[in-house]
């Protein structure tokens, strides 16, 4: 995956803040990835 500057910047910010909380998401059967 090619690094994207804005993506790297947001990841750094969110990892530093540990702001892993999310509001809602689309309900998916057999959802993969993080449930946050």
């Amino acid at each position: 995956m090619k690094p994207i500057p804005i993506v790297i910047k947001i990841i750094k910010r969110k990892m530093k803040a540990r702001s892993q909380e999310c509001c809602c998401r689309i309900f998916e059967k057999n959802a993969q990835g993080a449930k946050c």
Partner: protein
């Protein structure tokens, strides 16, 4: 199902929803029209991802959660507003996506590890970037110059 073009989805309008959002969230930064446009983009992206996962079933880069993050709260407020109008919402989902888009509030259980969170978010942000552009990434995650 055939994924509609994003322009087709963005042409959907519903003044009652905009009016209700303005009434319920007068202090939000995003005004009604803008919040609604971003919500429509989010719906379209969810369906695009769903379609891509079927087409490219072995593509590991598509294994992320299409979530409303904390920074997207005002877009989520608009989603909550839209859901109040159940018939309009159901009709919209059926007309554009041929299935009902359920809303799934998250809980504290099963929180991902930091490594999993980073991987998931990297894939999600990259997918938004590829399909909706940098401006949308910045707007949804409140990353301004």
């Amino acid at each position: 199902m055939t994924l509609p073009s994003i322009d087709t989805v963005l042409n959907y309008t519903n003044p009652r929803i905009l009016k209700r959002y303005e009434k319920d969230y007068p202090n939000n930064t995003l005004k009604a029209e803008e919040a609604f446009q971003e919500l429509l983009k989010y719906f379209w992206l969810c369906q695009k991802c769903r379609t891509d996962r079927k087409t490219f079933s072995n593509d590991e880069s598509l294994n992320f959660s299409v979530a409303m993050h904390q920074e997207m709260k005002e877009i989520d407020d608009m989603w909550h507003t839209f859901i109040l109008f159940t018939k309009d919402y159901a009709d919209f989902c059926q007309r554009y996506f041929e299935n009902f888009i359920h809303h799934d509030p998250t809980d504290e259980e099963n929180a991902p590890s930091p490594e999993q969170f980073e991987k998931d978010l990297t894939q999600y942000l990259s997918y938004i970037y590829d399909n909706l552009g940098e401006d949308t990434v910045r707007k949804w995650f409140k990353e301004y110059e």
